[in-house]
Amino acid sequence: MEKPIIEIVDMIDTSQVYGELSHASSGGICVFVGSVREFTNNEEVVSLEFETYAKMAIKEMEKIAMEASNKWALHKIVVRHAVGVKNVQEPVVVVGASSAHRDDCFEACRFLIDTLKQKVPIWKKEVFKNKSVWVSAHP
């Protein structure tokens, strides 16, 4: 597999990810994009604020990409997360993989986003009209 593309960025450009994942031996590319939802539990979200411990986040994302490339036959992997203030409908994360057959890229893509959410030191604050909340901080 080629070296995975692992990045923390200010803005995600969703149009570039296919070029990054495309490969002559790949018949399939699966991509997941996470974006800011207008409502959380029926409360209107003004924006999300993402903060990260960048050095460690990159290391953890690299580990996740390596784990995916050991589990499935992949050609390329992208794991990219945005930080800063994001408004409704803006992309905040994009993960994807390419593979000869579609089983591998689908399963790997799901693994990438699920594991990123569990392990990568990135924190999200939901900003509502009258309050703001660090997501998942409290039970």
Binding site: G34, F50, E51, T52, Y53, K55, M56, A57, K59, H81, V92, V93, I113, L116, K117, Q118, K119, V120, P121, I122, W123, K124, K125, W134, V135, S136, A137, H138, P139
Partner: protein, 80 residues
């Protein structure tokens, strides 16, 4: 002994960094550091989880803290 603070941990302490060198008995392990945090700032005890990274790797409670280590408090992550 500098400790980096992120997310809600930064809000609880009111700062992005904390210097523990001035303590009479600086914590000598990850477990002691967690104990110190929960003792000094009870809000830490109310979090869903509390992790510590040493040199940008998750570290178990038994891991020793040495001068020069980069130590970070990792409250519950919520990327994606």
């Amino acid at each position: 002994m500098e400790v980096l603070l992120f997310g809600i941990a930064k809000d609880i302490v009111g700062s992005a960094q904390m210097d523990l060198s001035e303590l009479k008995h600086p914590p000598s392990s990850v477990g002691e550091l967690k104990g110190f945090l929960c003792g000094s700032f009870p809000e830490f005890g109310k979090l869903t989880s509390l992790a510590v990274a040493v040199n940008s790797e998750y570290a178990q409670d038994a891991v020793a803290l040495k001068t020069g280590d980069e130590i970070a408090i990792i409250p519950p992550v919520s990327g994606g």
